[in-house]
């Protein structure tokens, strides 16, 4: 395969954003919307094509591209394997949905908004495609610029504070990773990920380097106690921004653990497992309790994201097949569910301009279609069997039970708390007595909204009953990951 299909995938949104930039702005910017919708759908189809034409029986990286880049010592290297392709497809799926969602909700400067979304898409796909640490860092950090603008320009009243907090928290975590990347270059002589897998980083360096990577991923994930930027960012960001943040940006960190931390520093990963378990359990239980107390719908979903990401980190660091597959599954399913929940909040926010739970109540009497979809996603969010949310959590807990009963018990307790806040949210928003007269005047969801939410509903339910397409995609890659990890651990034990 000589055609640079991954570069095409990465730069297609960027190039189309340039065309949007050139397009003449009419009153409602139809040309900008059409260009962005068309290009994001083309990107989606291309990514599906890549997924379809991949060989799942091999754990090797496929569609490799190499280009000499920084003065012959760092290569611009791209490639996908079973794990990364799913995140790429998730990205390309969520982006058109976001674009559709902002047609109604973004009134001001929609052209710039679409440019920001498409530029962000380029960087996000780049993160999941890159097989070189510097290229990864480049895309990982570059995503901050459009997201900062999305929150800051189109956000709510406290947008400045939130945008700054988001930017500076993430940057602070990431610069340490940059130092670690450069250090890896001088230790191993390369920043090519596949070569680093072979070289094996000496034991004495692993712990520090692992911590440097952890500082970046923990902020991005976000893990307790550095999660505080997330509720602020979510609350102030416009709907499309929240959706991208929850569905994709948070997954970069989980992906980073799987792609970099665990395979490159297996000994350190083993060493720091108790730390990860502790932080994950605190995230699951503490943030679930915090979510119970929220009065702002977006904040509640944001805290629930932190809790769900706790399962992801827990699953990855069980180093069992079930645990890791569960956490990947959980990331994909959370990408769909949280995106849908934020879209649901966006739908009512567009009508009443309030995110407060107390504003609503008894919606089911006036917006039946909306209420149905909302309940589906709320149930999926609490991990009801038959939805994709269940499978992820179930697999993670199965993995955790193999390692530690205590951790697994505590994590299971978190599932109950998850049910508590989600059901209580549903009770207060969807059911109950309508106190607010404005709620009665709301019209039910229109066709575009049904389209966006409907696609996500179908996916959530299909992947709840039929996980095979996803699991088959990453199965071999995960096996390979675990084998390499166990080899590294056991070879150290022999010494």
């Amino acid at each position: 395969m000589n055609f640079p299909i991954l570069s095409t995938l990465i730069f297609l949104p960027l190039i189309s954003s340039f065309f949007i930039f050139l397009s003449k702005g009419k009153k409602n910017n139809f040309s900008a919307i059409y260009i962005s919708l068309f290009s994001s759908l083309a990107t989606f189809i291309l990514s599906i094509f890549i997924w379809y034409s991949m060989d799942f029986s091999s754990s090797e990286f496929q569609f490799l591209e190499e280009q000499s880049w920084i003065n012959n010592f760092i290569k611009f290297k791209l490639g996908v394997d079973g794990i990364s392709i799913l995140f790429i497809v998730l990205t390309t799926l969520i982006t058109p949905i976001c674009i559709v969602s902002c047609i109604n909700s973004v009134k001001d400067r929609i052209k710039e908004f679409l440019i920001a979304i498409l530029v962000l898409e380029t960087f996000m796909i780049g993160v999941f495609c890159s097989l070189d640490l510097v290229v990864f860092y480049l895309f990982f950090e570059a995503g901050l610029i459009p997201m900062f603008l999305i929150i800051g320009v189109w956000g709510g009243p406290r947008r400045v504070y939130s945008a700054f907090k988001f930017f500076l928290f993430t940057l602070l975590g990431s610069v340490l990773m940059l130092a670690a990347i450069i250090a890896i270059y001088w230790i191993t002589g390369t920043t090519d990920v596949t070569q680093i897998y072979e070289v094996k980083i000496p034991k004495e360096y692993q712990n520090l380097l692992w911590l440097a990577f952890f500082s970046s991923f923990a902020v991005k994930m976000p893990m307790w106690p550095v999660h505080t930027w997330l509720p602020d960012a979510h609350v102030e960001a416009p709907t499309a921004g929240s959706v991208i943040l929850a569905a994709i940006l948070l997954k970069m960190a989980g992906y980073g653990f799987l792609r970099f931390s665990v395979p490159m520093f297996p000994l350190a990963s083993e060493y720091f497992t108790p730390l990860i378990y502790t932080l994950s359990i605190i995230a699951i239980i503490y943030t679930s309790l915090v979510a119970l107390m929220q009065e702002d719908m977006k904040k509640l979903i944001a805290y629930s994201s932190v809790a769900h990401m706790g399962y992801v980190t827990l699953g990855i660091f069980t180093f069992t097949k079930q645990g890791i597959e569960g956490s990947i599954y959980q990331m994909i399913s959370h990408g769909l569910i949280s995106a849908a929940l934020f879209l649901c909040v966006g739908v009512v926010y567009d009508r009443l301009h309030s995110r407060m739970i107390s504003t609503y109540g008894g919606i089911v009497n006036y917006l039946p279609k909306y209420s149905f979809l909302f309940i589906v996603f709320a149930l999926a969010g609490l991990g009801l069997p038959g939805t994709s949310g269940f499978l992820g959590e179930f697999l993670v807990l199965t993995g955790a039970f193999q390692k530690s009963y205590l951790v697994a018990m505590l994590a299971t307790f978190g599932v109950v708390l998850g049910a508590a806040y989600m059901l209580w949210l549903t009770k207060r928003v969807i059911f109950g007595v309508t106190k607010n007269e404005d709620v009665k005047k709301m019209h039910d969801i229109n066709k575009t909204e049904i389209l966006m939410l409907g696609i996500l509903t179908v996916l959530v339910i299909v992947f709840g009953f039929y996980p095979a397409p996803l699991i088959e995609t990453f199965d071999i890659s995960v096996n390979n990951l675990i084998n390499n990890y166990e080899m590294a651990i056991s070879s150290e034990g022999i010494k």
Binding site: S68, F164, F167, L176, W186
Partner: protein, 471 residues
């Protein structure tokens, strides 16, 4: 002998042209435009001469003058930067009624001084070049002589700079006294650790050089002079003398002081860290954008010095790459300032920028790109500048310097973000008048295009810089 003169061709041409346009300026009335255009032509012509000259290392006049790829690279960088700075500021100069025909001539004189600085292989020639440059800069700082602030900045710069030149000269004379020579190569042979007096002299020389590149703790003049001088001069100050100063600093470290690396390394590390921290922290509270850019330039010099502090060629190369990208960013940033005019007055307060994105989206997005690049956020060129420097620093296992440097980039990101916040997030306060300054607009676009597309082929600068240290 004639061969020797051939090697000095760019300098000779520049000198003769300066004299001739000075004559033109004296004898022709209202000759600002003519002289200005002639100066640009002279700069272009000098670039052509240097590009045509060979990059072979040649030392002439008792080895006091070197022409090599190193000096040629810096001369071209100085010329290109001056060309942009001069032409973008033309409208500003005319608007502010400082259209004196001496203006471009003095700039050419300072370029001539810098030429001798970067080419010198001898303390005396180096000092003469430095003084020619400094004297021209004193005049430039106070060129708007009816303006109190401009005169003040000129005097302030003169007094402090004269002091630092004195220290530098004292260091030079000690150097001569303890090594018995004024030639860089001969000094290098004599200057060893045991030669305590010469090591002592090195400290004085370093102080003088640190002042010229405005590194902490010799930075005091920078914010005041930047703020007081007319913006056209500030942009020149922020870009061109920094390039020459860093070139000379690298040259001193590379040739005369190469044997006492362990002695000067700690000093440079301290200066570098102090500059990075002060540049990041002090800029946060600034209200005037020129003052802010002054502190930001102090911070950037800190990063460039971090590369020098490694004491190895890869580190020097990373510093040179850093300063080259810094030139592009600062030329762009100052060109933006030339486009902010309201009621015949150029605005300098950061708060005046508020809501710029609604009124002038193109200017706002260019400013955004330049600011993110200054903050070192990928994929813009500013990231690569920092990346190269920290790669060199970590190669030498100077982890503390690297970590402090990286953390200060986060702090400095804050004040760049603050400007972006004012441009993009705040409601618009004033709408600026349209400025007919197409050169400034062009230079903003060029600098943005370079900063954005740099990541496609970042090796281009490495290839250029790699050739500089072959000899």
């Amino acid at each position: 002998m004639l061969n020797n003169l051939n090697i000095l061709l760019p300098e000779i041409f520049l000198t003769l042209s300066i004299f001739s346009i000075l004559m033109i300026g004296v004898f022709i009335k209202e000759s600002f435009n003519l002289i200005f255009n002639l100066s640009s032509a002279i700069i272009l012509f000098t670039i052509a001469i240097i590009l045509n000259s060979s990059n072979e290392t040649e030392k002439v006049f008792l080895d006091s003058f070197t022409r090599d790829s190193f000096s040629n690279f810096f001369k071209i960088l100085i010329l290109i930067a001056s060309l942009f700075v001069l032409n973008t500021s033309k409208v500003f100069i005319i608007d502010n009624k400082i259209r004196k025909f001496e203006y471009p001539i003095i700039i050419l004189l300072s370029i001539l001084g810098m030429f001798f600085m970067v080419s010198s292989n001898d303390i005396i020639l180096f000092y003469l070049g430095l003084e020619l440059q400094s004297l021209s800069l004193y005049i430039l700082a106070s060129i708007d002589r009816d303006n109190l602030r401009s005169s003040e900045s000129g005097i302030k710069y003169f007094v402090l700079s004269a002091l630092s030149s004195g220290l530098l000269l004292y260091g030079c004379s000690l150097l001569y006294g303890f090594t018995g020579s004024t030639n860089f190569d001969l000094i290098a042979d004599q200057l060893i650790k045991d030669n305590k007096g010469a090591v002592f002299a090195m400290v004085f020389v370093l102080v003088g050089l640190a002042f010229k590149v405005s590194a902490v703790p010799f930075h005091m003049w920078t914010p005041d002079v930047y703020e007081g001088a007319p913006t056209s001069i500030t942009s020149y100050f922020a870009v061109v003398p920094k390039v020459a100063g860093l070139a000379v600093l690298i040259k001193f470290m590379f040739i005369p002081f190469s044997n006492i690396l362990s002695e000067w390394q700690l000093i440079i590390i301290f200066i570098s860290i102090a500059s990075m921290i002060l540049g990041a922290v002090a800029a946060i509270v600034q209200k005037n954008i020129k003052r802010l850019l002054a502190y930001s330039s102090i911070g950037h010099v800190g990063y460039a010095l971090a590369g020098v502090a490694t004491g190895v060629i890869s580190g020097y190369e990373s510093s040179i790459i850093y300063i080259s990208i810094y030139v592009v960013m600062n030329v762009g940033a100052f060109s933006c300032l030339y486009l902010l005019k309201k009621d015949g007055e150029y605005r300098e307060n950061i708060s005046d920028l508020s809501g710029l994105s609604k009124k002038q989206p193109l200017l706002a997005i260019s400013f955004l790109v330049i600011l993110f690049s200054l903050a070192g956020i990928p994929p813009l060129a500013g990231f690569f500048a920092k990346f190269y420097v920290f790669t060199a620093v970590i190669e030498q296992k100077m982890y503390a310097l690297a970590i402090i440097g990286l953390l200060t980039t986060v702090i400095s990101a804050f004040y760049y973000l603050r400007i972006i916040k004012i441009i993009y997030f705040d409601d618009s306060a004033i709408s600026f008048d349209p400025v007919k300054n197409s050169v400034a607009k062009l230079s903003v676009l060029i600098s943005c295009a370079i900063l954005i597309t740099f990541f496609l082929y970042p090796a281009i600068l490495n290839n250029l810089v790699d050739a500089l240290f072959i000899n």
